[in-house]
Amino acid sequence: MLSIELLYFVVMVGVFAVSCFRFKLPVGVAMALSAISGCLVAGFGIPIRHLVEGGLNYLNTILVISTAMIFMKVVQYNGMMDTVTRWLIEKYYSKPALLIIGLSFIVVFPGMITGSSTAAVLTGGVLVSPVLIYIGFPKEITAAVVAMAAVFGEAAPPVNVNALIIGGGIDLPYIGFTLPLLLLTIPLIIFTSLFLGKKYLKVFNYEKIKDDLPTSYLSDFGIWLFLPIIILFILMIRETFLPKLFPTLGMPIYFLISALVGLFSGKKFNFLKIAQEAVHDALPVLGILVGVGMFIQVMTLTGVRGYIVINCLSLPAYLLYLGIAVSIPAFGAVSAYGSASVLGVPFALALLESNPVITVAALSQLSALGDLVPPTALAGIFAAQVVGEKNYFKVLKYCLIPAVITAAWSIVVIIFANTLAKILL
């Protein structure tokens, strides 16, 4: 369907590409310029209110990422990460396959509690990355394992924000999702861990690395060393399971409280310095989020968003499943949660003849995959950052096959939704 909105979209994408690749501007700035160009070409001038309103949409996410990065630095500097790495390897080196599956679940767990792949990477991912690297995993594959596990964590029950967003859009209560979401995630977590790790597990030789393992500070500080992560999990779990105990303080406060606890629970370090370092590291992603917010706002304002949605819905029946499998993760290039809302809801409505709980669960898994798609790629970029890999595309290369299999598995679940509903619900 040719339409003036296609021209707006082409201009926006063109300005983004030129700003990013020709003039080497930061991605966030390129997206902001792209949004402004969309407004100009659609006759809205430069609507400052819309740009600011859209840009601030991810304020809470920005605060979460900033504080989570500080937390990550704290547990690096206070000695907890070194201690955990050494302990895990010494304890489980004889069962490497079990070890890597277990490590994946350590990443998955915070995602299950928060519904956020970013939180999963910046907590669980921070813990397990050094272990994988010591085992012998290359940095890129370590980041791929972490990113994939974080994506599955975002989709796994009990908290799946994408399913809540899509369910909210079609007035579907968040009831009965546990088994479908487990079906969508658990087999894939096991498969992906072993698929990405198989080559390195075979050559893993404990004797070779045992003398180079990081220092354990357990004897110096005891259980206190783990206090930051314990406090963080308590605060996260409290919000999910005991919501009325005290008012919601928000994830940023939880990360900050836990980070401050880290000041007194291990090795000494300069908190202000590492906080500055953490925010500095996070700034490019924070900039992307502001740019993405403006971009989506302008897409909506100019009708480009509707144009994309209607074209996805226009696909003939035989291409609909392919369209779902491609478009929902692809829209994650802008925002995974945004994809759940913008595309997940119309697709859920288009699939109302199938069991809605099963289809929404599968659509939510596809939305979570969007966190691997650049330029936003929150799960992927942070996983790369955690292992010190600057080029995210090297990580993405290893995520491709597991991601395609995840998308295919989700579509199979949608196709057999009614049959599965009889078994699972």
């Binding site: 309103e53 949409n57 509707g306 819905l313 288009a350």
Partner: protein
């Protein structure tokens, strides 16, 4: 001065300009809409008169009483639960400015979630205001957000666990139509819910109607959703509305979907609870260009295409669904419901006049029925 320092100063100046310009618009959105109390309004109250903790808070919305000297029933009409669904509020505005009750009484609130009117939903590209030409000049009303303003309630939890233990998306914690029956110890939005339910209970409202709009791709649209106790009344009303060529789907309030008006008003008070939906393209996900014209006319080529594809639950063509049609549907349905309540329960009779008919609204426009601002 070094080059990078100069650039930093320019960026700071640019940022300051952006902050000032955008702040002026955001602050302007906090200003109240002007509503003219018509000759039928006998008194006004505040939500805080029913739940004093809301006194002085932004959400302390106005309540209008339209009373007669004849005993009868009490009808409660709520608009503005979702400020991005304007036909509800605009319907109530016409009641406030035009209706005269001759038997029983009406209690109406035009902006249930006043906080939601003080901002717009990020990434929705919504217009801030909608305008109408009237015989006395131009009137404007705010077009707001579906949810409470985060400056009044923040932060959202990751998930909102409602009072019945059901999990909802975190942002739903600011959705007025998910927080009933309300909680005096709860969050800002749940307190508003509590206040509204107190109005229904203390004023012993016989029939309570919550006015909404839905996106055209949403199944519950052009619909009346009724609590069990209101289902007979709603069934008869739907038949009567069909006689007037207004098709409505009748839905029974699902017992498992908690926190909504049509469920909790009925469960937690003696009222007959009803929710009504009209078709609003400006809140849908398939819509094209988003502006004031879309809100007022409903004309949208994306929705026309979606209708051709069979993706919608309402007919959609180039004529769109103008605000007059949507307000007209609400007001006609309210009239039919009230009329039938009087037939079914003579002691609860409510009668009123002064409201334009559906056809009159379509013919003369919404602005024609707004009163002069003094």
């Amino acid at each position: 001065m070094k080059k990078n320092q100069k650039i930093a100063i320019y960026i700071l100046i640019l940022t300051a300009i952006v902050i000032i310009l955008s702040a002026l618009e955001f602050v302007d959105q906090w200003k109240s809409d002007f509503i003219v109390a018509g000759s039928g309004v006998t008194r006004m109250a505040k939500l805080s008169d029913y739940y004093p903790e809301l006194r002085g808070k932004y959400c302390d919305t106005d309540i209008y009483f339209l009373e007669s000297n004849e005993p009868g029933g009490t009808v409660f009409v709520l608009g503005g639960t979702h400020p991005n669904e304007p036909s509800g509020m605009l319907s109530v505005v016409l009641l406030i400015e035009n209706a005269v009750v001759t038997k029983g009484r009406m209690i109406v609130i035009q902006q249930a979630n006043l906080s939601g009117y003080s901002h717009n939903d990020p990434q929705e590209g919504s217009p801030r205001k909608i305008h109408f030409n009237t015989p006395y000049g131009r009137r404007e009303f705010r077009y707001g957000s579906r949810a409470t303003n985060p400056i009044h309630q923040w932060p959202d939890p990751d998930i909102y666990i409602n009072q019945f233990g059901q999990s909802l998306s975190g942002s739903e914690t600011r959705n007025l139509n998910r927080g009933y029956p309300g909680d005096p110890e709860g969050n800002y939005t749940e307190k508003i819910c509590y206040g509204i339910l107190e109005v229904i209970k203390k004023e012993e409202c016989d029939l309570s109607i919550d006015l909404h709009e839905a996106s055209p791709e949403y199944p519950v649209i052009n619909a009346i959703v009724a609590h069990e106790r209101a289902i007979d009344l709603a069934s008869i009303a739907v038949l009567d509305l069909q006689m007037e060529d207004l098709d409505y789907n009748l839905e029974i309030s699902p017992p498992s979907f908690r926190g909504l008006t049509h469920r909790e008003w009925g469960d937690y008070s003696d009222t007959m609870a009803i929710l009504m939906e009209s078709a609003n393209a400006s809140q849908g996900r398939i819509r094209g260009r988003t502006d004031e014209a879309l809100v007022l006319t409903g004309k949208d080529k994306m929705y026309v295409k979606a209708a051709e594809l069979g993706r919608l639950y309402v007919p959609y063509d180039e004529k769109g669904h103008p605000i007059e049609e949507r307000v007209g549907r609400h007001l006609t349905a309210i009239g039919v419901l009230v009329e039938n309540m009087s037939l079914l329960f003579p002691d609860e009779t409510v009668e009123y006049y002064g409201i334009p008919s559906y056809q009159e609204l379509l013919q003369y426009g919404y602005g024609n029925y707004l009163q002069p601002v003094k």
